[in-house]
Symmetry: C2
Subunit: 238 residues, 2 copies
């Protein structure tokens, strides 16, 4: 079944850039449509009876299996040439649907971009009926994305780098407990540059948003690092 017009807003959609961190690399979720070779960001339409943000959350929760999610809106894309009916036609065809030329999903769309930083290990990527795969891709090794989705990813990255200074953003990218090195790696990967180990540690600790736990014995032949977690309460009150 194709989505029916009276249920959804026309000419508006959302797209999401979902970031995960493997410990080494920053990845995002990209889905591939069946029998088309088309890669796209997870996105969707907005039902007439739901908030824009809720629509986006619902979409992402379905694709990730997460029960809660924090989305950050970063930009809305409305260039004339960003819409292109061909991919949608191809997708419908790949699914075996006949799509009339005047179907509303073939019309021009303005799309609202959201990003989210989530714990890579908590996610179960779940394809929907339109896509036959959804997978993590290294931010530096993305497949060619359809329409302007590549540009959307770039804007999301810019936005994150901007927001990184304000609130402790690593909150959701790492498991509950993590080492200082892992946290620094997150920052280094997002900013795409090395940070001074000692200065970073001093800075983060002085922010007073971390709780120190037991040590982590990895078996490596050196001093074991402490584990930390974020102090959600103190972060709220900032």
């Amino acid at each position: 079944m194709l989505p029916s017009e009276n249920k959804y807003l026309t000419n508006v959609s959302f797209d999401t850039v979902i970031f995960g961190f493997t410990g080494e690399e920053l990845k995002i979720l990209v889905l591939e449509y069946q029998n088309t070779g088309l890669f796209a960001l997870p996105g969707g339409y907005i039902r007439r009876d739901e908030n824009l943000l809720d629509a986006a959350k619902k979409g992402i929760m379905k694709r990730t299996g997460l029960k809660t999610i924090h989305l950050e809106q970063f930009h809305t894309f409305g260039k004339l040439n960003r819409s292109n009916p061909e991919p949608s036609k191809k997708i419908a065809k790949g699914l075996g649907y006949q799509m009339p030329d005047d179907h509303w999903v073939l019309d021009r769309f303005i799309t609202v971009g959201y990003y989210s930083l989530i714990d890579y290990n908590q996610v179960r990527p779940t394809p929907n009926k339109f896509s036959d795969s959804i997978n993590w891709y290294d931010i530096n090794k993305l497949p060619p994305l359809m329409m302007d989705h590549g540009e959307i990813v770039q804007k999301a990255l810019e936005a994150i780098r901007n927001d990184l200074g304000k609130k402790p953003i690593g909150t959701n990218l790492l498991p509950k407990k993590f080492t200082m090195k892992e946290l620094r790696k997150v920052y280094e990967t997002i900013l795409d540059k090395k940070l001074r180990r000692t200065t970073f540690q001093r800075k983060i600790l002085s922010m007073d948003v971390l709780i120190r736990h037991e040590k982590l014995y990895t078996g490596a032949a050196n001093k074991a690092p402490y584990l930390y977690s974020f102090d959600k309460e103190k972060i709220e009150n900032l």
Copy 2:
């Protein structure tokens, strides 16, 4: 004439928060619809054959008489309850039009917010056929705005405060030549807090984006301040 559906995108609009600086106060442009007592931000719809950004620019140029304008997108508002057909009905009624209940402008809208900082003295506020006045209002003495336009203004302010640190934002709020005190006033008014005179001066000068010109003799019984202008080239290369 009411706007016709086939010319515009449905369910999407834009609204703009246009800031001007009098030398003392930060003001924004607010329009009032004829015979309704409704105050609103300048906004509009997007033609099917134009970019979102161009639509917004065109709208603002009409209302301000400016020939060039820089708009900064800051947020898109898509709450379910933000749309309300009553104001539009009232506006149409005030204009003497009969608006059918299923007219597309009465439908739910998601609106993209843009802000702009412009030279107060260059502007000729120009009402359109739907509004009988468009005027500058002190940011702290706004009339009650319709729908969620008050919230939109707040978000715009937040965005500006955020952007203030990055690029020299006063560029367009002041006339070409200005004194250091005026520039500081702009920052103080936007941030809504006093800044240290000497520290501000040192900081701005060290950024190396100002050109110093002749002195300004105001007739006041004290040392005359220098006039400055922004060095657009150096700002570009930052």
